[in-house]
Amino acid sequence: MESDTQQIALGLRQRDVVVLEALVEQYQYRLVRYLIYLLGRRDGVDDLVQETWLRVLERGSSYDGQSRFEPWLFRVARNIALDAMRKRPMFSLDSKDDNGVRPAPASDKPSPFTLAARTEDADRLARSLQTLEPVHREALVLRFQEDLSLQEISAIVGAPVSTVASRIYRGLATLRPQFEGETA
């Protein structure tokens, strides 16, 4: 029997709209969340989501079905986001990191993390998350929310596993002081 990923790969090769729509339903929230973590902003994300799915339709035959679908999807989304950063002023932010992903500029608007915080601890974390290096934030969401392996993250971000690991360590190190000195 064919595995799920092989069925997805077949559907994408045939540009089967029914398969694509099921994927949109299944992965939409996670795609939105990934892009918010990557960019540190909410506006413009819906456009990138649209473009991501269109690229999935057009280049879907390059997904081989041998590995999980979500790392491939996030890699597509990341390329779209980086392209948008290069092309559009709204995404062209101050340069800081080595990887072309740059932090969002300071804004009066509440950050997407503050708006999305549903627990007291999340609320405490929101401000530090907003100021975190985007690639550190990205590594954290992929590892701890998407539960991806370091190898999978490495394939998404196009950096060695050791770099991904150090991004995770540094992300945790920046956020940890929020909860240090307390008994949980």
Binding site: R15, V17, L20, E21, V24, E25, Q28, Y29, V32, R33, I36, R42, D46, V49, Q50, W53, L54, R55, L57, E58, R59, S61, S62, W72, R75, V76, N79, P112, F113, L115, A116, A117, R118, T119, D121, A122, D123, R124, L125, A126, L140, V141, R143, F144, Q145, S149, L150, V161, A165, I168, Y169, L172, L175, R176, Q178, F179, E180, E182, T183, A184
Partner: protein, 162 residues
């Protein structure tokens, strides 16, 4: 215990959370954690960060999926329209086969008839049929099936960057 000693175990905690720690190091970390309060607190604060990441719920525009579906269907139709169907490739290739065979048949069976009708030599009539019928049909037959392969190679080049 000195600070460096704790640091090395705290690095192991990070490795463990990242999922890159060896079984051996994990065991030694476990033993250390049983007796070390600062490292326990370090682990607990790290775990609380990770748990807090689950405390966000981002709002997704309820119309977003519907908008994506519409643009997918539209783009799907455009892509389909831009690509000649497999059926069309097959039909054209079949037509080329029939034309090539037909030309050869006419050449062999009616060469004399054509030569006398146009008042030329049989060899000239055959040469004419060869140049204006059989060879062009043969070219279509041989080259046409290669076109989809060539266009596929082009797509594949494009797909390397997703």
């Amino acid at each position: 215990m000195n600070i460096d000693h704790h640091e090395s175990f705290q690095h192991m905690i990070e490795e463990s959370l990242a999922g890159v720690i060896s079984a051996e190091r994990k065991q030694s970390l476990r033993e250390h954690l049983d007796t070390c309060a600062p490292c326990q607190e370090y682990l607990s604060a790290s775990n609380r960060v990770i748990a807090s990441l689950g405390g966000f719920s981002f709002e997704v525009d309820p119309t977003l999926n519907a908008r994506v579906f519409v643009s997918l269907r539209l783009r799907g139709q455009q892509v389909q329209a831009a690509q000649p169907s497999r059926r069309r490739w097959v039909l054209i290739s079949l037509a080329a086969v029939v034309l090539t065979l037909g030309g050869s048949f006419v050449d062999l069976q009616f060469g004399d008839l054509i030569a006398s009708a146009f008042d030329i030599q049989r060899a000239q009539a055959q040469l004419g049929l060869l140049a204006f019928w059989i060879v062009p049909s043969l070219c279509v037959l041989l080259l046409f099936p290669l076109l989809p392969l060539l266009s596929k190679a082009g797509t594949r080049r494009e797909e390397r960057t997703i």
